[in-house]
Amino acid sequence: MTAPSPWEPALEEEELPGLAGERTDLAWNRSSLSHAVLAAAVVRRTWSQNDDVTARVVVLCVLLAGAGVSLIAWWRSQRVTRNAIDGSGLIDEGTLRHVTIGALLTAGAALVLAALPFEE
């Protein structure tokens, strides 16, 4: 008797695919909140600390990247549970790519902010 392939569904379904969609929905919501809170915290903390135009442009970039990723993640979370049930659009490589780009832009902006001298 051959061992079942690791990619075959379990013989006894312990949970329906819909629950996996719900967990993924929650994960996207957490990510959406994380990006939004990060952007707000950076803007709140650094906007008033530095009057330099460069710093303020960078801070705005952080805000836009964080808000953009947050909206994308929220949109994905709305679709995940429904997609798990009807089996459509399970893979959304574009959304994951946008989230990655947003995180990279945020990191780049943070790098610039970290290098700038701040007024104490």
Binding site: A20, V42, L90, L96, T100, A103, L113, A114
Partner: protein, 133 residues
């Protein structure tokens, strides 16, 4: 058999994932996606930590002390953000082709990076810690 003896030109674009192999169990795809999101949030946490260290801590006696600790954490966060997307795609391709998942280097990177940042912080704290009140 190729003409001219030259190597086959590389495809300009990777094939879309939905054209690779067969659809795996939806739970596996979503587990892969949740893992990517967890790494993404970890990278954000590192970026926030690095920025907070570089800008919110009091000045150290060592002039570049704060940046010496904070900047590597931000860089590590950026590396994890990019690598997590590659990891997600490699996992998805392996699942669709019914192959074993590739080994992940991300936990190692995270452990080494945080360890190095901690060691640097310890050295900075000893050599040129925060200035007195």
């Amino acid at each position: 058999m190729t003409q001219g003896g030259g190597a086959q030109p590389r495809p300009k674009r990777r094939a879309p994932l939905d054209q690779v192999g067969t659809e795996p169990d939806v739970r596996f795809s979503y587990a892969n996606e949740r893992t990517f999101l967890a790494w993404n949030r970890t990278s954000l946490a590192l970026v926030v930590a690095g920025l907070a260290i570089a800008s919110l801590l009091p000045e150290f006696e060592l002039a570049i002390g704060r940046r010496l600790i904070g900047v590597p954490l931000i860089v590590l966060g950026a590396l994890l953000a990019g690598a997590s997307h590659r990891r997600w795609r490699a996992n998805e391709v392996a699942m669709r082709l019914r192959q074993p998942l590739p080994r992940s280097v991300l936990p190692g990177w995270l452990a080494v990076g945080v360890g190095i940042a901690s060691a640097v912080a310890a050295v900075v704290a000893v050599v040129g810690g925060p200035e007195g009140p």
